[in-house]
């Protein structure tokens, strides 16, 4: 790359200009608008709203459920990535394609069908509810919906890493006496860890921001089963713009923090590459 002549190709000015203008109009200015409006609030007011009991309850639920969902996906996602990369079985390609389904399906549909499926009269609910497993209109349901929408992130982040994993490392471990589980634990997993953490962070970020599917499957009661986006919505409905914005800024901060973490993780992951 080094001494290559830059900018010999035409169109730089035009394309850069257009890109920046478009980016500003659609993304930057509106975002800045929010930040400006919020900065008009006094610190005291901001903190009062942003950390009110209702908001705190929502944060607990949002981050807690998202963490749980991302963790479940971390375990299941690793398993799925392993099975899909390493084993051959009929229908493998079909299942592999299906992993993207939560990504392609609109969240409202996801929420609607999951709530129905696990409700008392649903296909699965009719068996599970008598057993005491209530996954509709409960916190468990929220976790489940979040697991659903963030499912692809761990699997898809791990798959390329597993695919490119040198089989010879596992063979080397075997020649040194390590059994399969031992090899996985000591050789394969440490190499997967960076990608796994990146996938976890991606899934977590997705879950934290999720709105559509949770609305259908939660009872949305303030202080009890209300996720953070719903708090914002609630205040918007009541035209309490300032409150809504305050909480929105908290959410934005969290998003950016996760974003930075993901970037750092990806940089850490490439540390071990030759």
């Amino acid at each position: 790359m080094g001494l290559q002549r830059n900018n010999v190709l035409p169109g730089f000015g035009m394309t850069m200009g257009y890109s920046i203008v478009y980016l500003s109009l659609v993304v930057l200015i509106p975002l800045a608008g929010l930040l400006i409006r919020v900065s008009a609030m006094s610190w005291a007011d901001f903190l009062r709203v942003a950390f009110s009991d209702r908001a705190l309850a929502a944060y607990r639920l949002t981050f807690g459920a998202s963490f749980l969902a991302a963790s479940i996906n971390a375990v299941l996602g690793t398993l799925m990535a392993w099975v899909l990369t390493r084993y051959r079985f009929p229908g493998r390609k079909f299942i592999d394609a299906l992993v993207d389904f939560p990504f392609a399906l609109p969240t409202a549909v996801a929420g609607l069908t999951l709530a129905n499926l696990f409700s008392q009269t649903g296909w699965l609910g009719q068996f599970l509810v008598p057993l005491g497993i209530r996954l509709a209109y409960t916190t468990g349901g929220i976790v489940m919906a979040l697991t659903f929408v963030s499912l692809p992130f761990v699997v898809r982040t791990l798959q390329p890493v597993l695919e490119e994993f040198e089989v010879e490392l596992e063979e080397a471990a075997a020649t040194l006496g390590a059994g399969r589980w031992c090899t996985f634990r000591r050789v394969v997993f440490p190499a997967l860890l960076p990608a796994l953490m990146t996938g976890f962070a991606l899934a977590f970020a997705r879950a934290v921001g999720e709105y559509g599917s949770v609305i259908f499957i939660s009872t949305n009661k303030p202080y009890v089963s209300e996720i953070t986006p719903q708090v914002i919505m609630g205040w918007l409905d009541q035209f309490e713009y300032a409150n809504a914005m305050a909480v929105a800024v908290v959410m934005l901060s969290a998003s950016f923090a996760i974003l930075i973490t993901i970037n750092l993780l990806e940089r850490w992951a490439s540390r071990f590459q030759r």
Partner: protein, 366 residues
């Protein structure tokens, strides 16, 4: 540790990688598996390791059949061509890996790894990660790792493939010294015949999944069993002769007919040292011009061209070359002192390959 293969074959689907190979390796030997790419030598190595399972045949270690023994239990050391170091572990942890698996006490691990670090010239690098090492260092870590658990046999897959030519030379000598010091039975795979010749006690030559010959370096050079081995080891001049008027001929060259009928073809081969040249154009029966001189140090490699356009390769010591006042473009006379019959007719591999014939003074009068 004596290793024995009895009629071992390996098929991948419909492709036969190894066919009917039988060989033994004695305790403490340093054996090279040599052959062109795809010849099956790596597959044989991996079968000995347990990384592949033979399709048929028996693999014996100290007289016991080990086909079904999993690789973890075979107590072998394997060095991969790409080294396969564990990227997330330090040099120390890499080398210690096999010992940790065997639940060796930490103090013992420490001693053993330190010992190896010293032996392999890796002092002070214990805490480094693989990506912080040079290629040569990585390779030594790979070998140290394989040797740490004191395996009964050390297997190396093209150990010097990825290294610069100069370093390769040093590493070869180092491997020979190591083997002498540690007395571990060692088998390594290479496609470089010079390497095999230099390093090993015995060479096993593979081609297309079949075993062509086993022997000491000297044996396979001086007594090749067939044309493939003769051509693969060292340099061979090959001539295709036709029986005409009672002699095997090609242009102006003629050789004994070996009792073959008129019109039959005969392939012969001879080493460069078998070609004798002289400035004196009367001394030998045939004439040629020195087309090219390759300076290799003490020896010179010469390309001779006959008036009819045949190219022959020969070698001569520099002093002799100078003493005779030769140079590129000089005219010389030459004769072929000894040769081997490679095949008669179209495809047959003659058993006479190992037999060397003296070329007669056949030039006159035929």
């Amino acid at each position: 540790m004596s290793i024995e293969l009895r009629q071992v074959s390996k098929r991948f689907g419909s492709v036969s990688a190894v066919e009917d190979v039988s060989l033994t390796v004695a305790d403490g030997e340093l054996v090279a598996l040599l052959g062109p790419s795809g010849g099956g030598k790596t597959t044989v190595l991996r079968m000995i390791a347990g990384l592949e399972v033979p399709t048929s045949g028996d693999l014996l270690v100290r007289g016991e059949r080990v086909n079904d023994v999993p690789v973890q239990k075979r107590n072998i050391g394997f060095v991969f061509q790409s080294y396969a170091l564990f990227k997330t572990m330090s040099v120390f942890d890499n080398i210690a890996f096999g010992l940790k698996i065997r639940k060796t006490p930490p103090a013992e691990i420490q001693t053993r790894v330190d010992e190896l670090l010293k032996l392999f010239g890796l002092d002070g690098l214990g805490r480094r990660l693989p990506h912080q090492l040079s290629g040569g260092q990585r390779q030594r870590v790979a070998i140290a790792r394989a040797l740490a658990p004191r395996p009964s046999v050390l297997l190396l897959d093209e150990p010097f493939g990825a290294v610069d030519a100069k370093i390769r030379q040093e590493l070869r000598e180092w491997l020979v010294r190591l083997h002498r010091e540690l007395h571990v039975t060692t088998i390594f795979v290479t496609h470089d015949q010079e390497e095999a010749m230099e390093v090993s006690n015995r060479i096993v030559i593979f081609s297309r999944g079949r075993l062509e010959q086993i022997g000491t370096p000297r044996e396979v050079y001086e007594q090749p069993k067939n044309e493939f081995v003769a051509r693969f080891i060292g340099v061979l001049n090959v001539l295709e002769l036709t029986i005409l008027n009672g002699a095997a001929r090609l242009h102006e060259l003629s050789f004994p007919a070996h009792g073959l009928p008129e019109g039959q073809t005969l392939r012969i081969g001879f080493r460069p040292y078998a070609v004798q040249i002289s400035r004196n154009l009367q001394e030998h029966p045939y004439l040629a011009v020195i087309r090219h001189v390759y300076f290799l140090g003490v020896q010179l490699r010469l390309e001779l061209e006959t008036p009819s356009g045949l190219i022959l390769r020969t070698r001569i010591v520099k002093d002799e070359f100078l003493r005779q006042g030769l140079e590129q473009g000089s005219s010389v006379s030459f004769q072929i002192r000894e040769y081997r019959v490679l095949s008669t007719g179209a495809n047959s591999l003659s058993p006479e390959v190992a037999t060397v014939h003296s070329a007669a003074t056949f030039a006159e009068g035929i």
